[in-house]
Amino acid sequence: MKKMILWGLAAIAASPSLHAQELYVFTEPASNMATRSIGLRLDNTVYNNGAYRVSPEIMWGASRRWMVHVAGYASDMGRTFGPEGGSLYAKYRVFAHDEVHRHFRVALFGKVASVASRPAYKDEIDLSGTNTGGQMGVVATQLLHKLALSGSASYTQRWDGGPASRQAFGYTASAGLLLLPRHYTNYRQTNLNLMCELLGATALDKRAGYADIAPALQLIFHSIARLDMGYRTQVAGSMERWATGGLFVRLEYNILNAYGSHSKGR
C-alpha cells in the first residue's frame, strides 16, 4: 500500500490530453483523451467515516471517439485492508463542434464493476469498489475559453445480493475555471484550476436520494502531470450510504503518443 502511494507520488512528475478546465475531479467530461495515449492514475479517498480506499487506474485513448478506463479498488472497509474488485469504463464521443477556444461535445458512457461478494444493506449504489453492477449514461460538455461546464445523466443497476436499492438515476453538474496562468507562454507553466461539482442520485425502486457538493483544486505540471484535491460532502437527501463524503486526492500521469505513429492517420 505504502509502496503504491510512493509510486504514485513519484509518477506525479508529468500528464496531458483534454482541456484542463474540464478535467473534472469527480466526473468525466464528454471529451476524450488523445488517441494512442495512456494515462495512469492513483486515486485516494479518506471517507468521513474514517475508511480509506485506494484505486489505481489505467486510461487508454483508443481512438478519437473511444476511451477506456480499467480500475482496481482496495480499502479497509472490511476488517482489514484488502482488495475489493475492479471496474471497466468506456466512453464514446458522439458529437463535437469546435471553435477557437470553444467546443461543445456529447458522449455516451458505460461502466461495469465487480467486487468480492458483500451483501448490500445501504441504498447508495457505488460502482467504485463497493458494489457489483452496471451503469450507462450521457454527458455533455461546453468549453467557453477559461470556463468549462458539464452535465450528465445516468442509470445504474446493482447486481449483487442484499436488500438495498437496486436501481438509481444519477445526475451531475460540473464547472471548472482556469485560474492560472493568466497568459500561456510555454508548456512548463503550472496550471491551477478551480472546480465545483454537484453529484446526485435518486433510487428508482424506493424513496431515497442524495445530493453532494464537491469543490476541488487541481494543479497541472509541465502540461503532463496532475494533482487533484477535492472534498465531497452531502448537502441534501436521506439515502442510506456507506459514507456521505470525504477527502479525495488523485495523482495522474499521462503518456502521449505512447505507441504507434500518427503518420497513417486514425
Partner: protein, 175 residues
C-alpha cells in the same frame, strides 16, 4: 562498358542524394518543396490540450520541428520532407481537436496558376479555387480549403467551387 555505366549510375545516385540532403526548400531535380506550415487548432484553451497536439505533430516522420503558441493554439511546423497534409489534420483530430486554419509555405519560381485548375507542387496535386490568374514567384503561402481544414461555416464558401475529380488526392487551396 558495364563499369562505365555502373560508375555513371553511382555518380547520378550520389548527386541526387547530395541534392536532396542539402536543400530545405528545393529538392533533387530543382523541384520546389514546402518548407513549413502554420496550423491553428480549435476546441481547446489549456496547455495540456495544446501539448497533446504538439506531441502528435512532432511524431510525424516529415516534421523537423514544431514551435507552439499555447495562448493562440497555433503551431509553426518546419518540414524535413514532402508533407502528408492529411496526416497533419489527423494529428490534430486524433488529439481530440479540429483544424481551424492550415497554410503551407513554398518558394516558387514563376509558376503560373489559374482559377479552377491543377498545379503539381512538391509532388502533390493542388487545385486552386477563388484565385485570380497569376504567376507565383518567391515565397508563397497557400491555404488548404478542403473539408476538415477550416471551420464548417468557412468551408461552405469554398465547397461550391469546382470539385477536383482525380484518382489521387488533390488538395484544394487558395492564396
Amino acid at each position: 562498358m558495364t563499369k562505365i555505366l555502373a560508375l555513371a549510375l553511382g555518380l547520378l545516385i550520389a548527386a541526387a542524394v547530395h541534392a536532396g540532403g542539402n536543400a530545405s526548400s528545393v529538392r533533387a531535380g530543382g523541384t520546389p518543396s514546402f518548407s513549413r506550415a502554420d496550423l491553428v487548432a480549435s476546441g481547446l484553451t489549456c496547455s495540456m490540450c495544446s501539448n497533446s497536439i504538439y506531441k502528435a505533430l512532432v511524431a510525424l516522420p516529415f516534421v523537423e520541428k514544431v514551435a507552439p503558441d499555447v495562448e493562440h493554439s497555433s503551431f509553426a511546423i518546419v518540414f524535413k520532407g514532402t508533407p502528408d497534409i492529411d496526416a497533419l489534420k489527423q494529428a490534430v483530430v486524433g488529439a481530440g481537436f479540429s483544424v481551424d486554419k492550415l497554410t503551407l509555405t513554398i518558394s516558387l519560381d514563376h509558376v503560373p496558376v489559374r482559377n479552377d485548375a491543377y498545379v503539381t507542387l512538391d509532388g502533390l496535386a493542388f487545385y486552386f479555387v477563388h484565385v485570380t490568374d497569376a504567376t507565383l514567384n518567391g515565397e508563397t503561402t497557400l491555404r488548404v480549403v478542403d473539408k476538415g481544414f477550416l471551420p464548417a461555416k468557412v468551408y461552405k464558401q469554398y465547397s461550391g467551387a469546382a470539385a477536383a475529380k482525380d484518382a489521387t488526392r488533390v488538395y484544394h487551396v487558395t492564396i
